[in-house]
Symmetry: C2
Subunit: 114 residues, 2 copies
DNA sequence: TCTTCATACCTAGCCTAACTAGGTATGAAG
DNA sequence: CTTCATACCTAGTTAGGCTAGGTATGAAGA
């Protein structure tokens, strides 16, 4: 499934995952893929720049960790990031409520076609 | 509230509203604002180009109607538009499920219609 | 050995679509 | 005779997710 529909909600899921436990970018990608059973299959080209942007905004902090010869950039959510996450959650629920208010009256799953 | 978060879901709500009953652009805007109690307060600069795009794609059809000296462009959802709407609904539900799976079942989604 | 795969990171440039900020025009209300 | 609500339009900007490339290590397997 194409999930360019994540547009505008990428920060939400990134902050959401990292607020539970700090982790590195690649792990965030695989976590999202696993938790959503493949629905959220984000590319590195989406996630890494987003992580950089969130750090730039002060919502994430990172530090390099050497791991078996490789290196990982471990991210954690800052205090400002926690506040931002709460705001993102509120906005998300508002959007879901709004869309459901709009679509709620139409035949949802009852459409006979297909 | 800023709802640029509608990004990627504008087609869904436009097709959703117009599939219930044909209408003109300005009415769609006021309908969305009323139904969502102001949450979805879209600008004309968002809606009109979107309607044109959807018509260009064959998902909407329109015709001018004279109304008390003024003129309105009345839109209706085409057959292809109905199919597209169903696909949009599926994608929307998939996104909501995915985000909730990531965030750990957020509440406030008690509308059974979806 | 040598190739391939999984891990783990990065970025320049593209593309889409929502938004900004302006514009036109009518009719009613004040 | 001005202002407001209705009703439409679009050029140009912006944001941000995606494409498509790149670097590098370690382990598996041919």
């Amino acid at each position: 499934m194409k999930v360019d529909r994540i547009k505008g909600h990428l920060d939400l899921v990134l902050l959401g995952v990292l607020s539970e436990s700090p982790g590195h970018g690649y792990a965030v990608i695989t976590t999202l893929r696993a938790r959503t059973e493949g629905t959220l299959d984000l590319t590195e080209g989406s996630v890494y720049p987003a992580l950089h942007r969130l750090e730039e905004l002060g919502l994430l902090a990172s530090e390099w960790q050497p791991v078996a010869g490789r290196r990982r950039r471990m991210y954690r959510v800052t205090t400002a990031g926690q506040r931002a996450l709460q705001a993102e959650r509120r906005d998300w629920r508002a959007l879901v409520s709004a869309v459901e208010a709009v679509l709620g009256r139409a035949p949802a799953t009852a459409v006979g076609a297909l």
